[in-house]
């Protein structure tokens, strides 16, 4: 990457490879599949990865700071399930939303506090809080896996909002991506995340408030998860907590990592998330159009991802200079 942030095409990195694969797939699908290159289908592709992409944005901020948030999907599903349950049992909208927002922030702050001040590895903290959130909300606060949106509620209306026939989650995804981009690139705290992720000890030594910033990132990730959950409920008119058991969490990490955000922290940005989301979106859409069974879809997805990682490994071999401590 050079000074203004454009990729250096002479030295192809993982992001470049994945981007190239995405372009190739796109071209092949546009030529070979009737109905792929229509405005409606392109919108559908972006929409199908909007929620995934939004969650990956939150995850990206955490990963760049050398962390990981495995509680994101639990927070997304359970916060909204609880919100809808409160509404269905007659709690006023403002109060219900205040409860839920407070709960979401509390979990985000707890994640951050345990990682930053108790020095527990993020992977264990968030795994535990994710299970806790799911278990507590599922057993104590809601009665059903699936909680419907009350008729006529703003969440239901939100799902029907269209500008120029484009669903609202596409705009939310674009807006959030832009905001995170501005945050990471042009704010002091955004830049500090890279320093903290690259070398936390050095960052602390030069006076960066590493720990409060860590807490902030997990709180941010939790709020992003809530937004993703609200959009899911808006589209489906209900939220199903079964999603916590699905592979969504791995898909989020995948979108971030395949786009080139290193799990060791300090590298990557919003563009990596967009590239990763584009590849997954095009891949899934093309395979659905060809009508490939789900089992083979998983196989193909895995093969392409493995291929990208292997090519990256060959082009950019790891050695003592590029490897970092804490690399996963």
């Amino acid at each position: 990457m050079n000074a203004i942030g454009w990729p250096n095409w002479r030295r192809l990195n993982q992001e470049g490879i994945v981007f190239a694969i995405a372009i190739l797939l796109f071209a092949a699908a546009a030529l070979g599949l009737p109905g792929f290159l229509t405005a409606d289908n392109l919108v559908a592709i972006v929409r199908s990865v909007s929620v995934l992409g939004i969650l990956a944005l939150g995850m990206a901020v955490v990963i760049i700071g050398r962390g990981i948030d495995l509680s994101a999907v639990a927070i997304m599903a359970m916060s909204v399930a609880w919100y809808l349950q409160l509404l269905n049992t007659g709690t006023s909208d403002g109060l219900a939303f205040a409860y839920v927002l407070a709960g979401v922030l509390a979990i985000g702050l707890l994640n951050g506090f345990l990682v930053a001040y108790a020095d527990v590895p993020a992977i264990f903290v968030t795994l535990a809080t994710g299970s806790f959130v799911f278990g507590y909300v599922r057993s104590q606060l809601i009665t059903q896996d699936a909680v419907p949106v009350p008729q006529g509620h703003w969440v239901e209306l939100l799902g029907g909002v269209r500008f120029l026939d484009i669903p609202v989650e596409v705009f939310v995804f674009a807006g959030l991506a832009f905001l995170v981009f501005l945050f990471l690139r042009y704010t002091k705290w955004g830049r500090f995340i890279y320093f903290a992720g690259d070398n936390p000890v050095a960052a602390r030594n030069i006076g960066i408030p590493v720990r409060p910033m860590l807490v902030l990132r997990y709180a941010l990730s939790a709020v992003v998860a809530l937004i993703a959950g609200l959009l899911t409920a808006a589209s489906l008119h209900s939220i199903n907590t079964r999603v916590v058991n699905s592979t969504l969490l791995y898909d989020i990490v995948l979108v971030a990592v395949i786009g080139g955000i290193g799990l060791s922290g300090g590298r990557g940005g919003v563009r990596n998330v967009l590239v990763g989301a584009a590849l997954i979106g095009i891949l899934l859409n093309a395979m659905t159009i060809i009508d490939i069974p789900l089992l083979y879809q998983n196989l193909i997805k895995a093969a392409i991802l493995l291929g990208a990682i292997i090519v990256d490994g060959i082009i950019n071999p790891r050695d003592e200079q590029t490897a970092q401590q804490g690399d996963i």
Partner: protein
């Protein structure tokens, strides 16, 4: 003497009259109580958090407790391993259930465990999902037949003057309910060669995936006249895609479910679903109760006989909705909470 004789005759007469009434004393209740009292029944569904499991548990509990047994449930929460663990623990515990009702996640996962349970003397009932295992009884849908009903409903929903294009949103390629449903649908469509299946993606039982694949399907084939989604739990996704494509009323959505009011009848009523092949859950639970009572009284060792009790299924449309077409989970929960 005369008096004595009269008295004796009278006594005899009384005995004679009384005797038949002794003989008519029904031995049933005593035998019933002896066989059933204190017996344990355990239900291990895929998860306790959805309508079918909650409905079964409600109806079973009521009946089992009425005959003096104990009823328990385990909640694997859709995790196959957790279900296996629950079954293993149940077999090994001091309070081993006398009847184990299992909702199998796929054809094979629990087969060994069910065999173990039978070896330990526990009757094994399979509910809803068939498995490759000779259980003491299977109670649930004949999924092949259910698929046929869905296909017939879809053909009827399309009509003669339609595009005759049908899309399927399958569950997955492992669950017997999905595989047999597909087989049943194809059987009917073979008899109607003018109808064709234009796409058959999997939803993996997830509503968001169902929405995404249905969106793509409708873009590729905007003239689809009917979609069959394999479960009402994810058909909300297919219906969202139809709504988004502004094809409400043009695409006849067929699905299947447990006949819960909010999940099925309300959605038939508002036109979200065109037809739902509904399982009569109360009757299905009644079937389970009957076979449990039979097995516990039979005295036969577990694994002796293999009975299939298929629930009567019917494709219900808005036109034949009746006030009692569905059961109401909310009402059951309120009833349970009131106790």
């Amino acid at each position: 003497m005369r008096l004595l004789r009269t008295l004796m005759a009278a006594a005899l007469a009384v005995t004679a009259f009384a005797a038949p009434s002794f003989a008519a004393d029904d031995p049933g209740p005593a035998a019933y109580a002896k066989a059933l009292n204190g017996k344990r029944v355990m239900l291990v569904p895929l998860a306790m958090g959805f309508d079918l499991a909650q409905g079964w548990a409600h109806y079973l509990k009521k009946e089992v407790e009425a005959w003096g047994g104990t009823f328990e449930t385990r909640d694997p929460n859709w995790v196959v391993d957790a279900g296996a663990q629950a079954i293993t623990d149940a077999i090994a515990s001091d309070t081993r259930p006398d009847v184990l009702i299992i909702h199998a996640p796929d054809l094979n996962s629990y087969s060994k465990l069910m065999k173990k349970a039978q070896a330990a003397g526990t009757y094994v009932l399979l509910v809803d999902n068939p498995a490759n295992f000779p259980a003491d009884a299977f109670v649930g849908s004949d999924w092949d037949k259910l698929g046929q009903l869905e296909a017939e409903a879809a053909i009827k929903g399309c009509g003669e003057n339609s595009s005759k294009k049908i899309g399927l949103v399958q569950g997955d390629q492992a669950n017997s309910s999905s595989l047999y449903q597909y087989a049943g649908i194809m059987k009917v469509l073979e008899k109607h060669p003018d109808f064709q299946v234009v796409a058959k993606p999997d939803s993996n039982w997830d509503a968001t995936t169902s929405r995404n694949v249905t969106t793509t399907m409708l873009q590729q084939h905007p003239d689809i006249c009917s979609i069959i989604d394999f479960w009402d739990g994810d058909a909300t996704g297919a219906s969202a895609a139809i709504r988004d494509a502004k094809l409400d009323g043009k695409v006849f959505l067929v699905t299947t479910g447990g006949g819960e009011k909010a999940a099925d009848c309300d959605k038939l009523n508002d036109g979200t679903y065109g037809a739902v092949v509904m399982t009569d859950l109360a009757r299905q639970s009644g079937d389970m109760n009957a076979i449990i009572k039979f097995l516990l009284q039979s005295g036969q060792p577990a694994g002796t006989s293999h009975t299939y009790i298929y629930t009567l299924e019917k494709a219900t449309t808005k036109a034949d909705l009746k006030p009692d077409s569905c059961w109401d989970l909310k009402a059951l929960q309120a009833e349970a909470a009131a106790k």
